[in-house]
Amino acid sequence: MSAVLEAKSVIKTYEVESTTINAVDDVSLEICPGEFVALVGPSGSGKTTMLAMLAGLLEPTAGSIVIGGRELGDMSEAQRTKFRREKVGFTFQSNNLVPYLSVQENVELMLKLNQRFNRESQKQARDLLERLGLGERLKNLPSQLSGGQQQRVAIARALVHNPNIVLADEPTASLDTERAFQVVETFADLIHARNLAGIMVTHDLRMCQYVDKIVQMRDGKIARIINDTTQISQFANTHMLN
């Protein structure tokens, strides 16, 4: 299967007080539809910077990123905004939702941004929320939800407009263990069911049991890629015991 996301020799450098820091140093990556990838590594390893570049939020210093056949580097700022709106689904660590919109409205916002809000897509949004166990919460405001519920609303929003890739930044950061597993499992299920490319940045290595590939980063470089199912389970289980 051909990759929906291809990153080639991506480099991101920062100039800090006349020294050059390589936040991301020659990273190449391919992700196919239906593949759920975990980007792991210690703080400062460059995983969030990498995610920002894959999302078109940050321009690489060198290298190329092609998503759905389009080179991000060739796009203008406005085109990148449009690209994020149409082709990317996002969940963030915090401040995921618009506080003054209800659960349902937060998800519909993505459809409205894409001018695809109609009766049919509205029903799909509601079905998605119901599938995520939020059927009773449609009218609630984010402040009335638990952290796990908020993350699930964000997942619905990230998927509702049928993007090419879904990016999740630390989706379990504010959740307790049980909820964290629930959220990532649901996320993985939906990514597989919809044949999307998903990337999750996480500190919590236990969450890796749901992914198809683990990309471990250190000091801006890829330290290891694990894509064997058995090894992935082993990797996750090792950290489970800690």
Binding site: T49, L51, A52, L57, F90, F92, V98, L113, F117
Partner: protein
């Protein structure tokens, strides 16, 4: 309710619409602006209230400026004449200026003058009601059917030059309850005695105050007889002294040329346009500029209050706005939603303030010098509408610069 669903996706045709799918195809910025205001009603209402109070304050200052100004100069302002004549070298002081009646023909003979009349100012008091204080009025002597005589909206104009008749200004009518056909009793000091004069009210004009008093208009010889005098003199028609002249021109646009011509051909007079004349009224300019300063500062306070509120609001929303930009909301969508929000609450505030002011002003007695003209209210409302967006400008610029990267906690 049935609504034709219009969207870029599927045409769903006519579908029944429930209450919960409002704004199915509404543009995003007004939707976001409205939702945020609606879900934070208390907070936004508070700002609207501040704007409402500022509106009330500005409108009252405006009304007061108009009202006090009108009390001082209303008569000159409404004068049906293009030029006003004063005696030379009296600094355009209407009470000091003297022009004798015999000069009138000289003035009328100047080419380009359509008509002219002389006006005399004095004061007296009107006796009315049994237990009421006499009402102090400006006693204004005019010539029947000449510039200077106000239009009587009720009754008729003056006739002749010595009739015992009067036109009263609207304020006199409102305060005393006197009407056309009633007897008007006036009191004035003649030498050392108080004399009473009884005139018939033949007409009522609109508001025509002068020297902070409502006005009573009488024929100029009657004026000469009634006005207070230090000593009783033998009236002699030949050198009757009045104060100023009102000149109507054949070509109303020809102000400067005619002023010069009048000054050249009629000795010892100064001719100015109406506005110069009333602005020279003692205290008028100082009073208006003081009130203007208050008005400008009030508007400025409004700008700062709104600016402060929205800046704090924006600072609290940095992460949220970063998130919106990250998921693909364009900067223009976010900026427009912000501006619309300011417009909503400014509109609401100005609306409440204007309605409140109207309600309050209806409860005021006539004697309160507050006066609303459509123009001044319009100017005030428009300037109030501007302070909202103006106050939000700094926040708007800040908003535009928020980077979507903040959503990932990465912004520089």
């Amino acid at each position: 309710m049935y609504v034709e669903a219009v969207d870029s996706g599927v045409r769903t045709g006519t579908v029944p619409l429930k209450g919960d799918v409002k704004g199915l195809s509404s543009p995003l910025p007004p939707y976001l602006a409205f939702k945020e205001v609606w879900r934070n009603k208390g907070r936004f209402l508070l700002v609207s209230m501040v704007i409402a109070l500022i509106t009330t304050l500005v409108l009252f200052i405006d009304g007061l400026a108009e009202g006090l100004g009108a009390g001082n100069i209303e008569y000159l302002q409404k004068l049906d004449a293009e030029l006003v004549l004063f005696q030379e070298d009296v600094d355009l002081s209407a009470s000091v200026s003297q022009i004798s009646r015999s000069r009138l023909n000289e003035i009328k003979r100047v080419e380009g003058v359509e008509d002219a009349g002389l006006i005399g100012f004095s004061s007296a008091s009107v006796l009315w009601g049994d237990d009421e204080e006499p009402l102090d009025i400006s006693l204004i002597g005019v010539e029947a059917d000449k510039p200077g005589e106000p239009i009587a909206y009720e009754g008729r104009g003056l006739r002749g030059k010595r009739g015992d008749e009067a036109i009263i200004g609207r304020n006199v009518a409102l305060r005393t309850g006197l009407g056309v056909g009633d007897q008007l009793t006036m009191k004035s000091i003649q030498g050392t005695d108080e004399e009473l004069y009884t005139l018939e009210i033949v007409g009522i004009s609109d508001g025509q105050q002068y020297f902070i008093r409502p006005s009573v208009f009488v024929p100029y010889l009657t004026w000469e007889k009634v006005k207070p005098k230090g000593f009783v003199e033998d009236n002699d028609d030949t050198d009757l002294i009045l104060n100023i002249g009102a000149v109507k021109l054949e070509d109303p646009e020809d102000l400067e040329v005619m002023a010069e011509r009048l000054e050249n051909q009629v000795t010892r007079i100064e001719a100015v346009d109406r506005q110069t004349a009333y602005e020279a009224t003692p205290g008028y300019s100082a009073q208006q500029s003081t009130l203007n300063t208050i008005r400008i500062f009030t508007l400025l306070i409004g700008v700062l209050v709104i600016g402060g509120f929205f800046q704090i609001q924006t600072l609290q929303k940095v992460a949220q706005i970063g998130m919106l930009k990250a998921i693909g909301a364009s900067t223009s969508t976010i900026a427009l939603a912000f501006v619309l929000q300011i417009i909503y609450i400014t509109l609401l505030g100005v609306g409440m303030g204007a309605a409140g002011t109207l309600a309050l002003s209806l409860s005021f007695p006539v004697s309160v010098p507050i006066f609303f003209t459509p123009e001044s209210v319009l100017v005030a409302v428009v300037s109030l509408m501007v302070i909202g967006p103006l106050g939000g400008l700094v926040s708007l610029l800040y908003l535009l610069r928020i980077e979507p990267l903040t959503a990932l906690g990465l912004a520089a």
